[in-house]
Symmetry: C2
Subunit: 233 residues, 2 copies
């Protein structure tokens, strides 16, 4: 907006409830998971819900998403990205609420488990979601598509895995994100050819006798080397 309206005279226009819903992705046991919590009151009691909240005057949508994430997982400085604004008039039976979906990537190990438990939240595999309220399933599906797009343009690794990981860890993560199998050899070559990972001297022997080298992101130069397409769903 901008023109077609004088300043300070917005009074004549209607305001809306604006919410943010967070699709919080985690990764465990080779599966991509979403954090949901159960709805304990009508309507839709028993169904599951994304974590959400209303946007306040003094915060951006991103701020609101961060606030919600912090409140429910205790985590800060988390990668997140806007997905889409959902605005069906009757999407929330209790009132007209426009909701902007965000997705976030967190390391489940790092969450404040007490806080999560206190909210009754539960991790669900994206491939086996329970019944969800409102348009939350649609939000998760859109978020997953966004995540896939991003994972195809740059390496999503440390956000979900940790600072160091083996190439097999990364491959399994990508299989979880794209919901399909990937050739190990080709994946390895493709990822390494991008030159954004640095092989450490450390081997992880937890998943094989031989052990696999741990890799980390090259911190040095280029944050701008991103967005070289390297993987398509």
């Amino acid at each position: 907006m901008g023109s077609s309206m004088e300043h300070s005279v917005y009074k004549q226009y209607e305001k809306q409830y604006v919410a943010v819903d967070c699709v919080i992705f985690g990764y465990e046991r080779d599966e991509l998971l979403v954090l949901l919590y159960p709805r304990s009151f009508e309507p839709s009691r028993g169904k599951w819900s994304l974590l959400g909240g209303f946007v306040q005057h003094d915060e951006t949508l991103g701020d609101a998403a961060r606030r919600i994430l912090f409140k429910t997982t205790g985590l800060q400085d988390i990668f997140q990205e806007q997905v889409h604004a959902f605005s069906r008039i009757d999407r929330d039976p209790a009132g007209r609420v426009i909701s902007v979906a965000y997705y976030a990537l967190i390391r489940i190990k790092q969450q404040d488990s007490d806080l999560v438990r206190e909210h009754g939240a539960h991790w669900w595999p994206v491939s086996k979601l329970p019944e969800l309220i409102f348009d939350h399933r649609e939000m998760i599906e859109s978020a997953l598509r966004k995540l896939q797009t991003r994972a195809g343009s740059e390496i999503i690794g440390k956000e979900l895995l940790g600072d160091r990981f083996t190439l097999t860890n990364l491959k399994k993560l990508y299989e979880a994100i794209f919901l399909r199998e990937i050739d190990a050899g080709n994946f390895r070559k493709k990822v390494l050819s991008l030159g954004v990972l640095h092989k450490t001297a450390v081997k992880d022997k937890s998943e094989s006798k031989k052990g696999a080298f741990l890799y980390e992101y090259r911190k040095d130069n280029d944050e701008q080397l991103e967005f070289i397409p390297f993987f398509k769903g």
Copy 2:
């Protein structure tokens, strides 16, 4: 949103002004254009602005975008797509307004010129934009990236060109969208290989002595053949 709040008790939460800003793309003289109109009052008098308006209780964001588009161009049933929600707190100096950007593709010939003139609107080339208010430049840039993504996944043709067009018309449109030159022979082969266009018996002689065949979309079967990647920026 959903849980964490009882129904009908949203009263305790703050409402927001929610606006929609439309990035209206047109195409003429081998250029991709955006419809802007001049701001005639302070602040930012003399700068240019997207067409926008506030969202009402009884309409979705898409409805609002359609309403604004109709009000300013007289056009209905226009292709449009949501771009992003912009929410910087001070993005509008006159008040806290969250704005969701949409882009639309229209055929300039079909617009209601009187209506457009009455609003003082003017078509600007995307590559030579004037100074814009607020975050409107950012909105246009995001919208263009979205348009490029979409144009790379399916053929954007009739929305901007008309029902029938030559392959050279389409190539020039793509050059305007991607802001770079494209090889004519390769473009032609790629587009035809998708099999979504049907060659008519009619030649357009307006642009060459030899004349070029007009193509149209195959209406018959498959709307689902879309989203086959066919062009990358």
